[in-house]
């Protein structure tokens, strides 16, 4: 737990750098987190972020498969947009919690 400033906003983050309060997220914050991940956001990136946030708000658990079938992006492109651990990186940039298992 700690604080971090993204785009001039003081954000609460967990040990892995994920926002703990989705209300602190805006597009500028997302772009600043993406910079840390080495990603320059494009329209295609934002379409994925928008899809992920909609699913999160509806309490639908996210999987790579689901994103691949979303019509927003196929799995290969998802990897190209967010290389090496796309769901993890895209979740962090979207301001939602890290995907976890039961332990």
């Amino acid at each position: 737990m700690g604080d971090k400033v993204y785009a001039g906003i003081n954000c609460n983050v967990d040990d892995n750098g994920y926002l703990t309060d989705f209300n602190q997220w805006n597009k500028e914050v997302g772009a600043a987190i993406a910079q840390e991940e080495g990603i320059d956001m494009t329209d295609d990136h934002w379409k994925v972020v928008d899809y992920i946030q909609t699913q999160y708000k509806n309490e639908v658990p996210l999987t790579i498969r689901k994103i691949g079938k979303s019509g927003v992006v196929d799995i290969k492109t998802f990897y190209a947009l967010f290389p090496d651990g796309p769901l993890k990186k895209a979740s962090r940039i979207s301001g939602i919690p890290k995907p976890v298992s039961c332990i």
């Binding site: 658990p61 790579i64 796309p86 976890v100 039961c102």
Partner: protein, 414 residues
């Protein structure tokens, strides 16, 4: 006469039949439908490959667990017609219902991954989530001379998320006991970012993989099995070579759910996570692995759900508001090999922590720590399952919602 129909006579369906058969009002009848004749103790599948359990110890006939005043129909299910309140059976019969409980569980679907379900299936590529898979893998391990053992999870969610980890630990013990551990490389391949994903568990248990000399490949999202060259390939181009691949394929709900037209993309039924009423129609309830709720897919979760669902079914019949009580409670033993096990207890909002269970401060079981006592608990659980759990008998000191007493919660955020 009004009619309650339960689809599926596995762990959840059988528990519900036992809970409800003497609690329903006199003008209600109870019917349960399943295509199979055999009830499997699924947690026992883990032990079969290592010759710890014999296959006959994990199977009994379904009939002996269904109360006499419940109608048991042996037929495959074609689909539910939710608008007509009817179940259409594969044998051509139609059952009208007033209230429906879907308990059709989840299955492995190796055909979802290219190359998995091909000519090497059950030759060099195995599952241990089915009775046949566990038995065939046992036969393979009896004669296997060593090499690269890869234990792999295709994608989440899976039934019993800790089982592949337990398999890795038991494999380490098994090969040590066979005096051939130096001939086996064990690699754990997961789509998650580690073997342990929650802070407390990572801190307490991170040592286990290193201690057992198991290497880990995280963030691996499988695209295909290249069975001609003995390797698995992920979407990012990463490759892991194997001689023996033990995989947990994609888990999906019953195809009956898809044919009924109300499943999600993995055929799980949209369900309210606190009441267990479906989001499909108000007279359809869902329990166990068939739901899409964000709880673990495990028998212990189904056990706790069953107590709350029983209340809610009776409330629904009585016209009372449903209790929003299910908190995602799960309680699982985790084998770590060499006669030891861990115990974890958690729910939707509280991650597994250290402490004592079930009696606060006393135990005798310790949470999130390895002990021989926990292992004995896991082995004793087979008896509890057959004699208490699926018969709907309450297990002393263990409540359906999670207790915070005896748990070290000070550092944990809800």
């Amino acid at each position: 006469m009004k009619k309650l129909v339960i689809l599926g006579a596995g762990t959840s369906g059988t528990m519900m039949a036992n809970h409800l058969h003497d609690k329903l009002p006199k003008d209600w009848s109870l019917t349960i439908v399943d295509k199979d004749e055999t009830h499997y103790y699924q947690p026992g599948f883990l032990f079969i490959p290592f010759d710890i359990y014999k296959p006959k110890q994990v199977k009994k006939s379904i009939d002996q667990f269904i109360p006499k005043n419940v109608e048991l129909i042996h037929s495959a299910i074609d689909r539910v017609d939710k608008d007509a309140d009817q179940v259409l059976l594969k044998n051509g019969n139609v059952i009208d219902y007033d209230l429906l409980i879907i308990a059709t569980g989840t299955n492995i679907e190796p055909s979802e991954i290219q190359g998995m379900d091909g000519p090497e299936w059950h030759k060099s590529i195995f599952d241990f989530y089915t009775f046949e898979g566990a038995k065939n893998l046992r036969n393979k391990l009896r004669e296997w001379e060593g090499g690269k053992l890869v234990v792999h999870i295709a994608e989440m969610p899976i039934k019993c998320p800790v089982a592949p980890l337990e398999f890795s630990f038991l494999a380490d013990s098994f090969f040590i006991n066979k005096d051939m551990r130096d001939k086996v490389e064990i690699t754990y391949v997961t789509p998650m970012d580690g073997a342990f994903t929650k802070p407390k568990a990572s801190k307490e248990l991170g040592y286990l993989l290193e201690e057992k000399n198991i290497s880990i490949v995280p963030n691996f999202n499988i695209e295909k099995v290249d069975y001609e060259n003995n390797k698995i390939v992920d979407y990012g181009g990463k490759e892991v070579e194997y001689d023996l691949l033990v995989t947990v394929p994609t888990n999906m709900g019953d195809p009956m759910v898809e044919r009924s037209g109300f499943g999600d993309d993995l055929n799980f039924v949209p369900t309210d996570k606190a009441t267990l009423q479906s989001k499909v129609k108000e007279n359809i309830f869902v329990i166990g692995d068939a739901t899409n709720i964000p709880a673990s897919k495990a028998g212990s979760v189904a056990h706790f759900e069953a107590e709350i669902l029983t209340d809610n079914i009776l409330r629904y019949i009585d016209g009372q508001p449903l209790k929003e009580e299910f908190d995602g409670h799960a309680n699982c033993f985790i084998e770590t090999g060499h006669g030891k096990a861990l115990l974890i207890d958690f729910n939707y909002s509280t991650e597994p922590v250290t402490g004592t269970f079930p009696l606060p401060g006393v135990g005798p079981l310790r949470l999130l720590k390895e002990s021989h006592m926990n292992h004995m608990g896991k082995l004793a659980f087979r008896w509890i399952y057959w004699n208490m759990l699926i018969k709907g008998r309450h297990i002393p000191f263990v409540s359906s919602t999670m207790s915070t007493s005896g748990k070290d919660l000070e550092e944990v955020e809800a």
